[in-house]
């Protein structure tokens, strides 16, 4: 077995262990939550018989150990059961919501990474210039501004007052349905513009500041002097420097992707975007255990998977990293 294969297996095994730990923590946390999940579903008018039957149906009367084992098995098989309230399989609900979140997050992620990388690289290369000063100051300002605050201001100005952009939702009333119809419609892009820009305004600051710092490190390397001594034009030298400076960004992108999928609850609420975060918060408020548990589990899986990919990719793209 090669060094990489051994590392891969070890890393995978560790991930399985972490998944189990996360599942257990989620289970314990939900058991510790005060309140009875039947409470919000059951009207005070209901008969005692009805309440008892509902608890039985949801398996809440089973011993805790039985509930735990059943939960582990179901989660491992991605069988999330049915939502307590929506009469629908949890998997279907979360799949739809994850797609919706992706429709907001992925464009913002791409724009943030591409633009942020370029701006950060240039700022780092031109250290001390007015461009660098303006870029760093703006990035720090945007990084400090909570996105929900920026979102509310953006809505007030561009939607409520000026009426230039829609005030929320993924599409207009009666707008396109289905994934391809949605993303190929101008209506969706129009609705996406504001939340996407708000998201970009924050997420772009990470790559900018990271690339700037990384470029500063690379700029002082010996190979840059060699490239310069060889008489390469400045643009080529920047390109060489940027390639080397990109390495820390790989990890950052992986982590950022995971966080983006879980961290947009407030934006989804402000922009009435029916995404995963909003669904999870609603499910937690309603004590809809199957939905909330599965949503948390999926979010954890995305982060773990992205970290796993980052760890593996790092070795592939940086020849200095070995596994022996």
């Amino acid at each position: 077995m090669t060094g990489f294969a051994r590392y891969f297996v070890r890393r995978l095994a560790l991930m399985v262990f972490v998944v189990w730990a996360i599942l257990t923590i989620i289970f314990v946390l939900f058991q510790l939550l005060p309140g009875d999940p039947t409470a919000i579903f059951i009207d005070a008018n209901f008969s005692v018989e009805m309440i008892e039957r509902q608890r039985e149906l949801w398996g809440l009367n089973d011993p805790i150990g039985v509930q735990y084992l059943r939960y582990l098995k179901n989660m491992a098989l991605f069988d999330f059961g049915d939502s307590f309230f929506q009469n629908e399989p949890v998997a279907a609900i979360l799949f739809e919501r994850t797609i919706n979140t992706a429709l907001m997050v992925v464009p913002a992620l791409i724009i943030s990474v591409v633009l942020g990388t370029i701006i950060g690289a240039v700022a780092g290369w031109r250290r001390g210039s007015r461009f660098e000063k303006v870029t760093v100051t703006t990035a720090l300002l945007l990084h400090s501004a909570p996105s929900f605050f920026v979102g509310i201001i953006a809505l007030m100005v561009f939607s409520y007052e000026l009426g230039w952009l829609p005030a929320g939702g993924m599409v207009s009333l009666g707008g396109p349905e289905g994934f391809w119809e949605t993303i190929s419609s101008a209506d969706y892009w129009q609705h996406l513009l504001l939340p996407c820009l708000v998201l970009v305004s924050r997420e772009i600051t990470g790559p900018i500041l990271l690339l700037r710092g990384s470029m500063l490190d690379v700029k002082g390397s010996d190979f840059i002097d060699i490239l310069r001594a060889k008489g390469l034009p400045e643009r080529s030298i920047v390109a060489h420097a940027a390639r080397n400076a990109l390495l820390p960004l790989v990890t950052y992108i992986a982590v950022m992707t995971g966080l983006l999928f879980q961290g947009q609850v407030l934006l989804e609420i402000i922009f009435a975007w029916p995404g995963l975060g909003r669904e999870m918060v609603t499910a937690l408020g309603d004590l809809d255990y199957p939905v909330a548990q599965a949503a948390l589990y999926l979010m954890a899986l995305v982060i773990l998977a992205m970290n796993f990919i980052a760890d593996l990719t790092y070795g592939v793209i940086d020849p200095r990293v070995t596994y022996d």
Partner: protein, 622 residues
């Protein structure tokens, strides 16, 4: 990372995990043994059924027992009145604002309040399981069937009802409740209801804090004319949907848009989702409805005739059809009642549990006879309001087809088909719902389409109204404060309307427990509320200080106008009452119970009710 894995899980994480798991197991595991101490007894054994055989509640609930036992134990000499717990749902910021002031005022009287904010789900759970501390704080949310007086008088105050969260058991009141439930003569029933309100107010059970908040709404008057203000509901209510039927477009746009915080949990009307109760009744026809003055009006039932105290003949409106084109027949009506009696144990059960049998009297004339198990006063104002007509051809085999056993709440009804004024149109969960006007309906809407669009924030709703994206804000979930209304007043396309309300905010003390069992304590406590602070400050003037302690506020057709006034805010008077009743104050200012040797105090605590009434509920232990 690999090294860490080899060495096993981080010890701190393992300890935390273990501790959490242990706590969870403790929480859900072995319940403490019950019954080792003095048993709970009822002053009237007829109430045993509720307390001792009520499923997982009351004496069968270890947590309820843990809370109640010390409160039914005689206080020792010098014992302070315990900390009084109040839970407030975290979405109710107005309640919290008011309670901050009231708790501070209470402290001047020697009362220590523990006001806690909890999630809405937790709050509901605590209330339903009677573990909500000392005072149940609640507001009224009106629905058409709640215009019936029994909805509040029975559910919140009848000693035999599990939803009587203060566990008040006044024998005279309960007898009046029983009598009104069987009295189908409206005039005689009104008298009984008014008498019951008098007992409720006289015995100082509930404490009305404020009548309101007022129903203030804003709507797009540049686009719509002819809105209907329904008393207690407003203009933009899905529960009282007259506006959505009668409003006329001022422009070429015949598509009306209503903004709401939430939409539907699911689309099965039997599954008891809150919004599906209201929206469902726009898709399925109810049998009777309310007009703008809350008077019962015929809807799918053209008329009804009382045969005797237990029997009615319901005549179906002729010429109705379901949205799939099939005619609505008396067979559908009979099927619906039979179906509900057989399967449904939720929302519809609250009325259909009293139904004994149904029989078609005249198929061609569309007449169905319904017989109740006992004389049933709520026929018009509850039974006909709550029940809808399900299409037999869709629902008759649906339980078996979908394999849901005996639970109709698990049914998936992706596209509800009813006979109501609106057809269920396009639906995107948590985003939008289209309701298409049925132009063949006997009460056909003027508009072509009604859209309900989800906007989860107050700012979002106001902003969308301002930008013209929505025409109305659904008024059951959100009403404007005066300052919000003022913010919108300058907009040309917006009109602000105020509709008389029937709302209230009240507190229900756990009257079967100490210190509430002492009528004199209650009398003093009622003087400790600055109710004007709620109506003038918290509600910004959009509310009324209550005139009396009743659920059926002024403006409600069942209101008793001759009730004693609410005790005024007067801490000095409250202190004097307590002093005269034998209470004293500790060095730290906390209120101290009268000494156990005080015969008057013991008599009052055992009696619970005001002199002249008979207590039927829990007795003190020992």
């Amino acid at each position: 990372m690999a090294r860490k894995f080899k060495n096993g899980i981080d010890r701190r994480a393992a300890l935390l995990l273990g501790a959490g798991a242990a706590a969870a197991v403790t929480k859900l595991g072995a319940a403490p043994a019950l019954g080792a101490e003095a048993p709970f007894t009822l002053a009237d054994p007829r109430y045993d059924e509720l307390y001792k055989r009520s499923g997982p509640y009351f004496t069968n609930d270890p947590e309820w027992v843990r809370w109640t036992r010390p409160r039914l134990t005689w206080p020792k000499a010098g014992e302070k009145v315990p900390e009084l717990t109040v839970y407030i749902a975290n979405i109710q910021s107005a309640w919290l604002d008011a309670w901050r002031k009231w708790a501070a005022d209470g402290a001047k009287l020697g009362l220590k309040y523990n006001v806690q904010q909890v999630s809405q789900a937790r709050w509901l759970d605590l209330i339903i399981s009677h573990k909500h501390g000392d005072i149940e704080v609640h507001s009224a949310i009106l629905r058409p069937e709640r215009v019936d007086p029994a909805e509040w008088l029975v559910s919140r105050a009848n000693g035999f009802d599990r939803r009587n969260y203060g566990e008040w058991a006044n024998a005279q009141y309960d007898a009046l409740m029983d009598a009104q439930a069987r009295e189908s003569d409206p005039a005689k029933r009104l008298k009984l209801v008014q008498d019951a309100q008098a007992v409720l107010a006289d015995d100082l059970y509930i404490a009305q804090y404020g009548w309101g908040p007022s129903i203030i709404e804003a709507y797009n008057s540049a686009a719509w004319d002819g809105v209907v203000q329904t008393r207690g509901f407003g203009v933009g209510s899905l529960n009282a949907f007259h506006t959505f039927i009668r409003a006329r477009p001022k422009t070429a746009r015949k598509k009306m848009v209503v903004g709401n915080f939430t939409l539907l949990e699911n689309t099965n009307i039997v599954a008891n989702g809150n919004n599906m109760r209201s929206i469902g009744c726009m898709v399925y026809d109810r049998l009777a409805y309310i007009d703008a003055n809350l008077k019962t009006i015929p809807w799918a039932a053209e008329s009804w005739t009382q045969v005797d105290a237990r029997t009615w003949d319901i005549k179906l409106r002729p010429g109705m059809s379901f949205h799939d084109g099939k005619p609505v027949t008396v067979e559908d009506l009979k099927f619906t009642f039979d179906y509900m009696m057989k399967w449904e144990r939720g929302n519809f059960w609250t009325t259909n549990q009293f139904l004994e049998s149904t029989a078609i009297r005249d198929a061609r004339g569309g007449i169905l006879r319904v017989v109740f198990k006992q004389p049933y006063a709520q026929f018009e104002s509850y039974f006909l309001q709550l029940n809808v007509i399900l299409p037999k051809h869709i629902w008759q085999n649906i339980m078996a087809e979908q394999g849901v056993g005996d639970d109709p709440r698990r049914l998936r009804i992706d596209r509800p088909i009813g006979s109501g004024p609106f057809k269920f149109g396009r639906y995107r969960k948590d985003a939008e719902l289209q309701l298409i006007a049925d132009k063949n309906h006997f009460s056909k809407p003027s508009i072509d389409e009604l859209w309900v669009v989800v906007t989860p924030t107050i700012d979002g709703l106001l902003g969308r109204l301002q930008s013209g994206e929505i025409d109305f804000i659904e008024s059951s979930e959100m009403r404007l404060t005066p300052s919000q209304a003022k913010q919108l007043e300058g907009l040309k396309h917006i009109s602000i309307v105020r509709t008389p309300d029937l709302n209230w905010l009240h507190g229900v003390p756990r009257i079967s427990n100490m210190p509430w069992r002492d009528y004199e304590f209650r009398r003093a406590w009622h003087h400790s509320f600055d109710r004007e602070f709620l109506s003038k400050v918290v509600w910004e003037g959009a509310g009324r200080p209550p005139k009396s302690n009743t659920f059926l506020v002024e403006g409600n057709p069942w209101n008793n106008p001759n009730l004693p006034p609410v005790p005024p805010f007067d801490l000095t008077r409250a202190r004097d009452i307590l002093k005269a009743a034998g209470y004293s104050w500790a060095a730290d200012g906390r209120l101290v119970y009268p000494p156990p040797t005080d015969a008057n105090f013991r008599r009052r605590v055992e009696q619970v009710t005001k002199t002249g009434y008979k207590w039927a509920g829990l007795k003190m232990l020992g």
